[in-house]
């Protein structure tokens, strides 16, 4: 059976509408309430309003006119742009906002649910990828530190790479910390000693 998790969660979503209080804004609010979302409508866009939102529908005009009440880098916020022109400046503003979906003005009820679901799905995938990238970066950093610390111990103790690595790991287990932090301590200590040795 297909995954309906995103659909099931629609009624728990807090949706912020950052759009003027006009016919289009009101149509958007009504359709999202029909879908069953918890909707708040704020204009002008305010940073505080987005703190409690899972999804924001925001009006994109040319770059300088687009109101930014929220961060374009927030990976937990689903961003759906509302646009009324396909001019180059609007399109650039759209890309800067890293929107997950777009709806065109005038607002029609059909298409809002589709874009909301697609945007949630893309945002959740994007958030997953970002957290995976952050973890991989962390791992790479640790590996570099461990390699460096291993080399230091090999030189100091005149032992093999395997033996140096085993020493490091034993220390980490004994002190109940990660290998990366032991390796970090070793390299920092080495740098400090270098500094003292080379002091005038």
């Amino acid at each position: 059976m297909m995954d309906l998790r995103i659909l099931r969660e629609l009624r728990d979503l807090r949706v912020l509408i950052a759009h003027p209080h006009d016919g289009d804004g009101d149509e958007l609010v009504r359709q999202l309430r029909r879908i069953g979302c918890d909707v708040s409508h704020v204009w002008p866009a305010a940073a505080k309003a987005s703190e409690r939102a899972d999804v924001v529908f925001f009006l994109v005009e040319h770059e300088s006119a687009t109101q930014r009440g929220f961060s374009y880098d927030d990976t937990s916020l689903t961003r759906i742009a509302v646009v009324n022109a396909e001019s180059p400046l609007t399109l650039r503003a759209l890309m800067d906002a890293r929107a997950h979906a777009v709806i065109m003005k005038p607002i029609r009820p059909i298409g809002i649910l589709t874009n909301l679901v697609l945007a949630r799905s893309l945002q959740s995938y994007e958030a997953k990828l970002s957290s995976k990238v952050a973890k991989l970066e962390e791992t790479m950093k640790s590996q570099r530190l461990i390699a460096k610390a291993t080399r230091i111990i090999m030189a100091k103790e005149s032992i093999s790479e395997n033996e140096a690595y085993t020493l490091l790991r034993r220390q980490a287990m004994k002190k109940r910390v990660s290998m990366a932090s032991i390796a970090d301590a070793v390299t920092r200590a080495e740098e400090l000693l270098e500094g003292i040795r080379n002091a005038p």
Binding site: L4, L10, R11, Q31, R34, G36, I110, L113
Partner: protein, 397 residues
């Protein structure tokens, strides 16, 4: 529908009618047509609306969705009509919707369907799943068990209805023991293999979303099986009195339908409606939810038009939202939140005389919730503005 005296009346309110009198959907849609015709006749007999008669222009799209679109455009563009009473299946409604919105018409749609739609240019007067599927699943689980076999026509309504049914069966810790889909137009004896499988599996009940002639053919063939003899029912949201007459009463006894209306509903409004319907279309003409919803929506239209005096869709729709009609099924109200109707869910068991014995009915109309994704037994539907949970009355004891 021909009426030469009215056709020449330049003051008439011209409205379009798009129901199939031919093709695979001719049974339910002829009933839509009869209900519409009766109500228009009543409105005209009572002096019309603001002194002007209603003049229907009717086309027969022959159960072909592409023809619905073509004929809807003919009504909106060539005939200059803004109001259309029409469509039965979702495929038909979805075919006309872009034209209705583009040419700014107002479609009155009288059939049950699967929900997940809202157009400001449509008023929906049939049931959505929170008004029929939940009640049916609850009834089946309580009376027959939760090993359910799903059989349907292959388009959006059956697949969405089955999605809802699966969820409800899951919630009851039941089991879907089969799921099969068939084209709308069938060859002879199409169901032989399925019926063999059904006899081996022996489910507690079969949930059928086969529509039109396919449904009738299946019920007929099913009557020859030992499952039918053993009283294992077919449950449906679409099989009404007209279909029972076509299947043959004896061959449909015991099957279950969930709908807001059966001809056996005991309300004064239904007695009057039935008398007038029979007087016009004959004693033998079946009366069903299809006729009733179509009848009801013409009266809602007439009330709204009398109040606002224009067929401009936005003005008329605004007037219709929140409007109430004392329909044969009970009070029907158009929900201003979503253009769908509050209707009264009921469960009926087919009897040999091609009517239904009503075994369950809700004590009050249930708010429509067309965008409800997750259905469960405790939920009469999400209703932020409705007062509490709708009451439930079991009258089968």
């Amino acid at each position: 529908m021909q009426n030469d005296t009215l056709a020449n009346n330049r003051d008439a309110w011209r409205v379009g009618i798009l129901f199939s009198r031919s093709g695979v959907m001719r049974i339910p849609q002829s009933e839509h047509f009869f209900g519409t015709a009766l109500a228009i006749e009543e409105v005209n007999a009572a002096g019309g609306i603001l002194g002007r008669p209603v003049e229907p222009i009717a086309y027969d799209p022959g159960s072909n969705p592409a023809a619905y679109r073509e004929l809807a455009e003919r009504l909106l563009i060539d005939d200059g009509v803004q109001i259309i009473f029409g469509c039965s299946t979702s495929a038909e409604r979805k075919a006309v919707l872009p034209s209705i919105e583009r040419w700014n018409g107002l479609l009155w749609y009288p059939s049950l369907y699967e929900g997940f739609e809202y157009s400001p240019n449509v008023i929906y007067t049939g049931a959505v799943p929170n008004q029929n599927s939940i009640q049916l699943a609850r009834y089946l689980a309580g009376r027959h068990g939760s090993r359910i076999f799903l059989i349907g026509s292959d388009y959006i309504y059956p697949r969405e209805s089955n999605r809802v049914m699966k969820e409800l069966v899951d919630a009851a810790q039941g089991e879907i023991v089969g799921e099969e889909y068939f084209p709308l137009v069938l060859a002879d004896r199409t169901f032989d293999a399925t019926l063999d499988r059904l006899c081996r599996i022996r489910p507690d009940a079969i949930f059928s979303t086969l529509v039109g002639e396919a449904g009738i053919a299946f019920y007929r063939q099913y009557a020859e099986t030992k499952l039918f003899a053993a009283g294992i029912p077919i449950a449906s949201l679409t099989m009404a009195e007209g279909e029972l007459a076509e299947i043959g009463g004896e061959r449909a006894v015991g099957h279950i339908t969930a709908a807001p209306y059966f001809s056996t509903v005991a309300t004064p409004a239904n007695r009057q409606f039935s008398e007038r319907f029979r007087a016009k279309f004959g004693e033998g003409c079946p009366i069903s939810m299809y006729a009733e919803a179509a009848y009801c929506q013409v009266h809602l239209f007439a009330q709204a038009l009398a109040a606002c005096g224009t067929t401009t869709p936005q003005v008329l729709a605004r007037e219709a939202l929140g409007a109430e009609f004392h329909a044969p099924q009970g009070v029907v109200t158009i929900d201003p939140d979503n253009n769908h109707a509050y209707v009264t869910p009921r469960i009926g068991i087919a009897t040999a005389d091609c009517t239904f014995r009503i075994v369950h009915e809700e004590t009050e109309p249930v708010k429509p919730d067309p965008y409800l994704v997750s259905h469960d037994y405790d939920q009469g539907g999400f209703a932020p503005s409705a007062p509490g949970r709708p009451g439930v009355q079991d009258i089968s004891a």
